[in-house]
């Protein structure tokens, strides 16, 4: 019963975040509807996307990266 309620709350939280972020994203990306030059960051999203994807991949591979760093540090010390 409590678990069901908790799941429902999680769903409502996700709904609220999505519903509020959509109009915000729409307004922020308004210049994209015209051209890159109309944008205050002048097309920096082209750089931002790979960085975002790199962060996601790093988060997914966190444990493997930690191990790799440990091996490198061990080798150096």
């Amino acid at each position: 019963m409590i678990e069901k309620f908790r799941n429902r709350i999680r769903g409502i939280q996700a709904f609220a975040i999505a519903a509020s972020s959509m109009p915000l994203f729409y307004l922020l990306s308004a210049p994209c509807g015209l051209s890159c030059t109309a944008c205050p960051i002048s097309g920096m999203c082209v750089t931002a996307y790979p960085v975002f994807i790199a962060f996601v991949l790093a988060a997914k591979l966190r444990s493997k990266l930690k191990n790799a760093f440990r091996i490198i540090l061990d080798a150096l010390s």
Partner: protein, 291 residues
């Protein structure tokens, strides 16, 4: 991953054939459905995917611009999809949509490790996000419809983030008619990356765009959920036959299978992947009141 693909392909071949046909039915230079409609109406214009736009009628409905729907081929097309969704579920999404088909095909063919693919196992969160984005789409359409927000920069939301338009422009380029450079300097790059890279390659099932950003898909599923409650066709889970192998959960492109194995009709597109994979027949496409 390739092992799975080999297992799945022959079993659900009718669906893959339908998705392949969907490309030729809707995307120019073929656009067979649009050509047929134009021929019937005596229109001599060259049709493309935009002839039967799947998003603009929704913007008209939510924005209160009903007068634009009169005699519109697009509106008739979208209303047909929604009516079909009441009785047999969002079959267009699962069996014909070229946008979903392309991202799903890319997801199945690009060999990245499973550990890099993103998925949400909790259907409550997926549902919340999906319908939250739909609510946002409705709110923006309504605000723009009421002219509470308008400027040259704020074009209609359906055209700003249009996967159909991006797909058509990519196909046009492949057939030797590249779009203007300006087109690729706009939000279309955001759409391309979100649709094929993040939503396609990096999401389990490759239907991230369909799940979170397609307003027609979300609306069809909402209607299907209502139709399923009324006893119309839906995919139903039979726990007695389930052997807890978890193959269905992994194969579902819409993340519609709950932890207990039951189907969330607000996400299911009746693609029959679970039915075809389940050797024990735990999923059945049926109608009638829920038992």
């Amino acid at each position: 991953m390739f092992m799975n693909a080999k297992l799945v392909l022959p079993r659900n071949k009718l669906r893959y054939l339908a998705l392949f046909a969907g490309f030729f039915l809707f995307v120019a230079p073929f656009a067979l459905i649009s050509r047929l409609v134009y021929y019937a109406l005596g229109n001599v214009a060259e049709p493309d995917l935009h002839t039967i736009c799947m998003r603009m009628p929704l913007d008209w409905i939510f924005g209160g611009k009903f007068y634009q729907m009169t005699g519109s081929v697009m509106a008739a097309f979208v209303i047909t999809i929604l009516v079909v969704a009441i009785f047999v579920g969002p079959l267009f999404c699962g069996w014909l949509c070229p946008v979903g088909a392309v991202s799903e095909a890319i997801s199945r063919t690009v060999p990245i490790p499973k550990s890099l693919r993103i998925s949400i196992r909790d259907t409550n969160i997926t549902m919340g996000l999906r319908y939250g984005f739909l609510a946002g789409f409705v709110a923006i359409s309504l605000l723009l419809g009421l002219k509470m927000a308008s400027s040259t920069e704020l074009s209609t939301i359906c055209c700003r983030y249009c996967t159909s338009s991006v797909l058509q422009n990519v196909v046009n380029a492949l057939f030797g008619e590249p779009s203007s450079v300006e087109y690729w300097h706009t939000g279309s790059i955001i759409v391309l990356v979100s649709w094929l890279l993040i939503g396609g390659i990096f999401m389990v099932g490759g239907r991230g765009w369909c799940l979170f950003f397609c307003p027609l898909g979300a609306l069809s599923n909402l209607i299907h959920k209502g139709g399923a409650k009324l006893g119309f066709f839906r995919t139903e889970y039979e726990p007695k036959s389930c052997k807890d192998c978890d193959e269905c959960t992994v194969s579902c492109p819409m993340w519609a299978i709950k932890e207990d194995g039951s189907i969330e009709n607000g996400l299911c597109i009746n693609c029959k992947e679970c039915q075809n994979l389940c050797l024990n027949g735990a999923y059945k496409f049926k109608r009638g009141r829920a038992t």
